[in-house]
Symmetry: C2
């Protein structure tokens, strides 16, 4: 999606450690009009798939997922990394490794909110090694829910996570696919 | 707001420890069509205030803030509880005590994204003792940004946080104000 690529080129910054910093419009400050266009595009791509619910992971996926859900008119469920003391419900959990934070944690959703009747669209901000996407698919598998596909805003394609998931049969749509990046330049597929 | 009150009565559950569980539509699963109506109402209330940015706190405020921002056409900035290794920026931080999680933590935003030119609308899911709202106001004060008001979906008014903030001059608008609640009944103001 041209709009996202242009914004990455304008405002993204490549940091040491192969990190693409886009927190001025995607995952700290959120440019809601821009992300609305991303949501509209996800709707165009997946509108005929009978989506019943959008699944994402806290925190940076929530905004994009909710904005996308305004087009679908469906609820969003976000997997949590920690649960507060206001939850006595049965959970589904799945292990996940964060690329940017460099640690392993469990993602959890309340069992009641993810069911075998759901047709799930997964939405997230980033796809690199695919660990979060894989964990979200695992939660759906445990629930017996069908994953109709995944939409991510930025895929670091050279890290291979997206293509591995595609090879396993998951439909993955990324609005900007990064072929390579250095501190001097970012190239898209 | 009738719609929110009715939904709380239908799906909310009062748990021991004075906790109102609304995670089937507000802060785990998000009923996006319902929250869109909440966002529309926040827009009606604050549309003439020259809002430049909506400020909230991760994770449960993000969805509501982003949906509300689609009406304002403005960006959302969410304060973080932890920063990953993709952030080398200068931060503003403010201490905050979580009511439901029972712990103290720091809220932080990147200094670059909250400025003295901003007119901030704070949006959050819950207001009880007012600690999160107070911390968000503190971040704005540090930045020299003007807080034009705060919109919350549910205020547990009997805990006094909202009225204390109102007494200090903050405009606080809550869509459902709980006067009292027990495991058997919930009464609104």
């Amino acid at each position: 999606m041209k709009l996202i690529e242009e914004r990455i080129l304008r405002d993204g910054r490549v940091l040491p450690g192969d990190v693409l910093k886009v927190d001025s419009f995607l995952n700290h400050m959120i440019d809601v009009p821009l992300i609305s266009e991303a949501g509209r595009e996800f709707y165009r791509l997946f509108s005929d798939c009978g989506v019943t619910k959008i699944l994402t992971v806290e925190a940076s996926g929530i905004g994009i997922a909710c904005i996308t859900a305004t087009f679908f008119g469906c609820p969003v469920l976000f997997a949590k990394k920690t649960f507060g003391n206001n939850s006595d419900d049965e959970k589904l959990t799945q292990e996940c490794k964060s690329y940017t934070k460099g640690k392993v944690y469990n993602l959890a959703v309340s069992k009641a909110y993810l069911t075998k009747n759901d047709r799930i669209l997964i939405i997230d901000d980033f796809l690199a090694e695919g660990s979060a996407l894989r964990a979200l698919c695992g939660l759906c598998r445990q629930a017996g829910a069908e994953v109709i596909g995944a939409g991510v805003v930025i895929e670091k394609r050279y890290q291979g996570g997206g293509d591995a998931l595609r090879a396993e049969g998951l439909r993955v749509e990324s609005l900007a696919k990064i072929k390579s990046m250095t501190e001097k330049s970012i190239d898209f597929c």
